[in-house]
């Protein structure tokens, strides 16, 4: 028995080895360089909203920190709040103004409240101005018809400068 243990220890000693880490370090260096290249350094990060596939564009303009409106096939979201439920990309008749076919009532109310809030802040803080800007994230499959209604309602609420969010070609 003793002899067997001695033999095992002797064999085990022979089995130790040094790990060759050079190849792994090479791989990690390449990975870090790739990640550093992909790193977005813009001060404002806009993440695509859920259920929205943004269209591609050649634009490289960096978004600024303004109110965000997201339109998917199922809803319109102002900031983080869902204000209108859409049925397959169309506004329900109850949310539309009967006298104005392009006016979405709940959207106007939400945007108007935001505009009033910003104006109230700008009275206290002169650096904070209401400039009527919106970043619009819309699903690429939506028809212009719904966008036109959103543009129209936004302009009625004082938001006339719409920036369309897109994914840039690399």
């Amino acid at each position: 028995m003793r002899r067997a243990v001695d033999k095992f220890i002797a064999n085990n000693k022979k089995g130790t080895f040094v790990l060759q880490l050079t190849a792994m370090v090479d791989m990690f260096t390449i990975l870090i360089v790739f990640l550093l290249k992909s790193f977005d350094t813009s001060p404002v990060q806009v993440s695509p909203s859920q259920n929205i596939t943004l269209p591609y564009s050649y634009s490289v303009a960096v978004p600024s920190e303004v109110l965000k409106v997201a339109i998917s096939r199922s809803s319109i979201v102002v900031g983080d709040k869902e204000v209108v439920i859409l049925i397959d990309g169309k506004v329900d008749a109850k949310d539309m103004d009967l006298s104005d076919p392009k006016f979405i009532k709940p959207l106007f109310e939400a945007l108007d409240a935001q505009a009033k809030k910003t104006e109230a802040i700008s009275k206290e803080n002169k650096d904070h101005k209401f400039d009527g800007q919106i970043i619009l994230q819309a699903d690429k499959g939506l028809n212009y018809g719904i966008l036109e209604k959103v543009f129209y309602t936004s302009s009625m609420a004082g938001y006339t400068d719409l920036k369309l969010a897109t994914i840039t070609y690399e």
């Binding site: 370090v25 990640l35 790193f39 977005d40 943004l54 050649y58 994230q137 212009y144 966008l147 897109t166």
Partner: protein, 183 residues
């Protein structure tokens, strides 16, 4: 012979193994942090960073009151129509027909380039998409209008500061959605 043996001996003694373990530990920490922080999809907004001279030219174009020239771009079911009006009178009309039943954005770009050559002081296009046009195609039309694709296709803008003409690829950076009011 003796010298060669000496060299070989010294050379063998000089080799040593780099301790890569701390470097590896650092990388193993860095990679998850960077994977979490990196966004592979970059969201941008449609807009062009314009040179100062071009911005001034756009302002001048907006302030012009006499001889108003407007460029309208109608985006229909599968084709485009460019209409240039001078004091509300139509002076130019171009139809960009579809290719394989789809909008031809290359041809649209070429047609708008020709219009820009004729009216180099204009920077705004009024876009009229049809209700059924998908949003992605509207964005493609805006892309076709914003700037010349080829680097040699440039337009001259007079820079007041340097008193020289500068070349720019900017065509129609200001695209406004028209027909919102009263339609």
């Amino acid at each position: 012979m003796r010298r060669k043996r000496l060299l070989t001996k010294n050379d063998t003694e000089a080799t040593f193994e780099l301790d890569l373990a701390p470097m590896l530990a650092l990388m193993v920490t860095l990679i998850p942090i960077m994977l979490l922080a990196t966004s592979f999809v970059k969201v941008r907004v449609i807009g062009t960073v314009l040179p100062q001279a071009v911005q001034e030219a756009i302002q001048q174009d907006k302030q012009k009151l006499s001889k108003t020239i407007t460029i309208d771009l109608q985006m229909n079911k599968d084709d485009f129509k460019i209409i240039v009006k001078e004091d509300e009178k139509e002076v130019l009309a171009k139809i960009v027909p579809p290719t394989d039943g789809k909008w031809d954005f290359e041809a649209l770009h070429g047609a708008l380039y020709d219009v820009k050559k004729q009216f180099p002081d204009k920077y705004t296009v009024n876009l009229y998409p049809a209700q059924a046009v998908p949003y992605s195609e509207v964005v493609n039309a805006i892309d076709a209008a914003r700037e010349a694709k080829k680097s040699e296709d440039t337009f001259q803008v007079f820079d007041k500061e340097t008193q020289k003409n500068i070349n720019t690829r900017v065509m129609f950076p200001e695209v406004s959605f028209s027909g919102l009011i009263g339609g």
